[in-house]
Assembly symmetry: C2
Homo-oligomer: 197 residues x 2
């Protein structure tokens, strides 16, 4: 049995972590991005389906491809973020199940069952996106997740000819708390969101 993590760790992951809108000019290395994936990949998914695919947009060229898809309010901060992760879902994820779930023919549970492909992909790709955010924080990085962009434009620019569809974006780097860091917004009280039955 494990003890709770200490208060500093809980602060870093949840209590003091914030969505950043400005970034210090400090690089995120490819090695850090590898380490980030190697943590996040272990978060649980249904039948180990692991449908998330990620493009870490770092180069000027790739940022320029992304820019036309961004909503106005997300443009400036995204163009200067050290990395922007395109968190996406491969809706042909079931083709990887012979590797990921080798003890049963899990691929056959999905082939031809579009409703199940869609819901399993969207649900579990989103879970993995959240693991990515928390894993980044665990590695001392800050995040700025965003839904304000045109998915179709991103998909054409980055995933043409595949069944991979963008889900959401996450700016990743070292947050600049001196600029555009809004006051913490209220959350729902326990009794508004939770029941113990």
């Amino acid at each position: 049995m494990s003890a709770p993590l200490n208060d500093a760790a809980l602060d870093q992951l949840f209590l003091a972590a914030r969505t950043y809108n400005a970034w210090l000019p400090k690089e995120v290395t490819d090695e850090q991005l590898h380490r980030l994936y190697e943590l996040a990949k272990f978060g649980p998914t249904a039948a180990n389906s692991s449908p998330m695919r990620v493009v870490f947009v770092k180069s000027k060229e790739a940022k320029a491809k992304l820019e036309p898809a961004l909503s106005e309010s997300n443009k400036a901060k995204t163009m200067v973020a050290p990395v922007t992760a395109i968190v996406a879902t491969d809706f042909e994820f079931y083709e990887k199940l012979p590797k990921l779930f080798p003890h049963a023919d899990a691929r056959s549970w999905f082939v031809g069952n579009d409703a199940s492909i869609q819901s399993t992909g969207f649900r579990n790709g989103s879970l993995q996106g959240a693991y990515l955010i928390v894993a980044a924080r665990a590695l001392g990085l800050d995040c700025g997740p965003m839904s304000g962009f045109d998915n179709e434009t991103v998909d054409k620019a980055f995933f043409a000819g595949t069944q991979i569809k963008s889900n959401f974006l996450v700016n990743i780097g070292y947050g600049d708390a001196s600029t555009n860091l809004f006051g913490r917004l209220p959350r729902l009280d326990f009794d508004e969101a939770v029941t113990i039955a």
Copy 2:
């Protein structure tokens, strides 16, 4: 700027954490469930929409209401788990936006826009479900998430007359590593899932 968490913490959250199928007979207190929500609620969601709702099923009566919805392979372990969280989504989440996002009329972005309600609810409710899993591990608890159940049966039993729909289930407690703990399944290699552009 924060340093990475230490190796023991990364193990507890991701690297050594496992999906448990058997549970030690040790209670999870209501106080722990409160603490769990008070961590998980701070994970980021689009426009702070916070659409997740949770029922922590603890009592015999509530477990009996849940049982008919469970797939055969999920029944026995779920009936003995100290807690089973029904992670659900309130598709009327936008009615809480005047509290959650007070500086703009975010409610009006959703009213009458069913596609946006559905995708925002499903995506962000799933993100919050992942925050709940990682937060439970951060508190020293183990998880066993499951999609093998009949959503409609759960919704009729627990959410009748509302727009709240079940998303997935999570058994929570202290995992028994001596029983039904399967070998760690492979994950996709970095190059199978990730591109640095």
